[in-house]
Amino acid sequence: MSEDTITILIDGKAIQAEPGQTIMQAADAAGLYIPRLCGHKDLPPGGHCRVCTVKVNGRPASACTFPAVEGQVIESDTDEINTLRRTVIEMLFVEGNHTCPACEASGNCELQALGYRLGLVATELPYLNVPREMDASHKDVYIDRGRCVLCGRCVRASKLVDGKTVFGFAGRGIGKRVAVDAEHALSETAMSATDKAASICPTGCLVVKGKGWATPVGKRDYDTMPIGSDIEQQAAG
């Protein structure tokens, strides 16, 4: 560790962080899982979902963007914050059209997995039934916007990893949606099934065709272990 290593306190536990690291990066390295949805290890943070909100010296901040600074006192795994996180996940469930039992992503879905991890048993908020278009025009990839959580992963991945900018946003507020770089539909874009953007969706919104149910339910990512276990175990091992 370099001389200017800094120490922060997360839920009473002292953690070492490198200068320039975010709170989330420091926590990950220490094996403390902070729930997140829009974040992805291969992409810069988006700050969309706010599920990683922690309290830094008493004030809410997103752990994915907030820099670790010497002496910070951070609350993360508390009843108060987990309840707030759970409500945000619940909001995303009622915003979209998430039919888990019939969804190809079930078991691999990070939204679903976060719901389980945060103890979301049933939705109490009223469903919004926001109308959203489906785009199945592309031969290898489809977009079911009813399952989109507007995490922006595909937008960032297509631009920064694939160098294509196939995706962007359009509209604002509750009418905001993921748009494609074409006059009409995805088939007119440079999208390929091997793009990073094609495999980075946390839900069943952006799906590669022809691979449905290749892994049976029961053997999927979060069927045996809760989301975040990899981070917790990596540090333990």
């Binding site: 820099p67 409500t87 945000v88 909001m91 962007g168």
Partner: protein, 592 residues
């Protein structure tokens, strides 16, 4: 057709210097030329700038004044904000629909007139108002509407309408913003002090940001000055969008020189060569006069090279128009918009003073703050800090509207109580006062003894009075509906939460609420407040949260004693099926 577009658009893009960061100007110019932004035009812009189509659409689809669908020759934007509806905007809307023959949100069959609603246009003191094209019309009565429509159909310019008059409505000028000024006085003093001296004087005056957040201005300038960068920028935030505020309209009409003076002083203090004034799209009608004032100042040597004779001090100001987005009043969203992008706020840190416009150190200041800064340099910190309270020095502009006989702008010393304000505007019988607009708080009479200051009632200056007969809770729901319209959609808690809040509030107002619904509103409101990314979401639940606290009896009067009433209406859901089959669904009585 496509070729026509491409010629016009290529020319516009060429004039912008093929600069992506001027996309807002390019798009506005194309929109003005074509009346809307057809997909072909987006394609031409994209090609001319070397951008992706989805990137252009990302920006254009964000702003409410930019349309993707063809519009009528004249666009009537009727303001349907809370105060306007209190003053009869609904009746005016009905009159427009009758006269034009189509509902709001559409265009007359002959293509002459489009009817749209718009959020607060900064004319709440002379409501109901509308923008016809960019021309403001005020005090519209339903009986005026047939003649207005007839004139527009006949090809008359909106500016020739008898209602196309904006009253200044400066009810009480004060010593800081509205006292007479001498052009250049503050700049000449400033350039004779070192930049650090200017900041020192501002610091001594203890002036804080007038937009509502109250950050110490000297500290902001000092951070910005000390931050490393290739260039530094001063930005004047003239995007006052908080419903019920219109003070910047009056400042920009009556004292534009003082604003530019303040920007120039700020430029000298932080080491900037360029200042940008971001003017909300709704205020486009102020642009010609502001440009004239800038030209005059250039001719007097108060902008340009060697400003006011100070060797090496180069500074000029550009006005950037917005296009209808409340969120752009948030400083980081404003910067994004200045760069020609959608007005989505940024995560902080880094703060704009570190990485702002074009990622360079930028000081974003409110119109009123810049006026105060100029005056402090002109008259001294001591003169300024003798006014107001201990932690809130100087004066504050209040935009007062709603149920009161004397709406308008008042310049008052900090510390003035709500009681005193109500007396001033002739509304001593107020039931409630919305302090700081929808994002502020709804005050009950028990709080009317409190004072306007950063230490007590902090406000950007929007004050809406609710008279004794007003349905305050309905107004609160409309406020939340405003936030739904204006949420940028970036983060989940604000995007989804505002929509849910209004839906759940409407249930209570419809008489289907129970105590459980109030608890749910409180929980959801707290989540939106705590988890949202920027100030919009963090304050969007305030209309509900502050009335739950201050007006609980109004809620109690609306709710039922049942333990639970479902929001889902089963018989209504079955209605269509029943009609089609010709059979009535017989539902059992609902028991809890």
């Amino acid at each position: 057709m496509v070729e026509d577009y491409s010629q016009v658009i290529d020319q516009i893009v060429e004039q912008s210097g093929k600069d992506r960061s001027r996309l807002m100007d390019i798009v506005r110019a194309v929109h003005a030329k074509l009346g809307y932004l057809p997909e072909e035009a987006i394609g031409c812009i994209q090609q001319a700038l070397g951008m992706h189509r989805v990137e252009v659409r990302d920006m254009t689809s964000f702003y409410s004044f930019l349309s993707q669908a063809p519009k009528g020759k004249t666009v009537v934007r009727l303001c349907d904000a809370v105060v306007e509806r209190m003053k009869g905007a609904d009746e005016v809307a009905k009159a427009f629909e009758e006269a034009v023959g189509v509902p709001f949100g559409s265009t007359s069959e002959d293509g002459s007139i489009s009817l749209d609603y718009t959020a607060c246009i900064g004319l709440s003191d002379q409501a109901p108002g509308a923008l016809i094209g960019s021309v403001p019309v005020t005090h519209i009565k339903p009986s005026d509407v047939p003649r207005i429509v007839e004139a527009l159909r006949g090809g008359a310019e909106a500016s020739s309408l008898p209602q196309a008059v904006v009253d200044v409505n400066l009810r009480q000028p004060g010593p800081v913003v509205f006292a007479p000024m001498e052009r250049g006085a503050a700049i000449r003093k400033a350039v004779n002090m070192a930049p650090a001296g200017v900041i020192g004087e501002i610091n001594k005056a203890r002036v804080r940001g007038r937009g509502g957040a109250g950050f110490p201005t000297a500290m902001k300038w000092d951070f910005c000055r000390k931050a490393e960068g290739n260039a530094h920028y001063v930005v004047c935030n003239a995007d006052e969008g908080e419903p019920g505020t219109f003070k910047d309209r009056v400042i920009l009409t009556e004292q534009p020189d003082l604003v530019f003076e303040g920007m120039t002083v700020a430029g000298f203090a932080i080491g900037a060569e360029e200042g940008l004034l971001y003017l909300r799209g709704e205020y486009e009608y102020l642009l010609p006069h502001l440009e004239q004032v800038l030209a005059k100042r250039r001719s007097l040597g108060m902008l340009g090279q060697n400003v006011c004779g100070r060797e090496g001090f180069r500074f000029d100001i550009r006005i950037q128009m917005g296009a209808g987005a409340y969120i752009c009043g948030e400083e980081s969203a404003l910067i994004e918009s200045l760069e020609g992008k959608r007005g989505a706020p940024r995560d902080r840190p880094p703060f704009p003073v570190q990485k702002g416009y074009k990622n360079e150190p930028t000081s974003v200041n409110n119109v009123e703050t810049l006026c105060a800064a100029a005056r402090i340099i002109e008259k001294g910190a001591e003169w300024f800090s003798a006014m107001g309270t201990k932690d809130s020095t100087g004066t504050k502009l209040l935009s007062i509207s709603g149920d009161c006989p004397h709406p308008g702008v008042y310049e008052v010393e900090y510390g003035i109580t709500v009681d005193k304000i109500l007396e001033m505007v002739g509304a001593a019988d107020a039931q409630a006062v919305q302090m700081g607009g929808p994002s502020g708080q709804c005050l009950a009479p028990k709080d009317f003894g409190r004072g306007i200051s950063f230490e007590d009632l902090s406000t950007g200056g929007s004050i809406i009075v609710f008279g004794p007969d007003r349905d305050v809770l309905d107004c609160m729901c409309q406020f939340v509906e405003f936030f739904i319209e204006e949420s940028c959609g970036w983060c989940a808690p604000c995007r989804v939460g505002t929509t849910l809040l209004a839906k759940m509030m409407r249930k209570v107002l419809d008489g289907k609420g129970t105590k459980a619904d109030l608890d749910a509103l409180r929980k959801l409101g707290t989540t939106v407040k705590t988890m949202s990314r920027c100030g919009l979401g963090q304050t969007a639940a305030n209309p509900i949260l502050t009335t739950l606290q201050n007006f609980s009896s109004l809620y109690d009067a609306r709710i039922k004693s049942d333990e639970f009433i479902p929001s889902f209406d089963l018989s209504k859901a079955l209605q269509l099926g029943a009609e089609i089959t010709g059979r009535t669904a017989e539902l059992e009585e609902h028991h809890v």
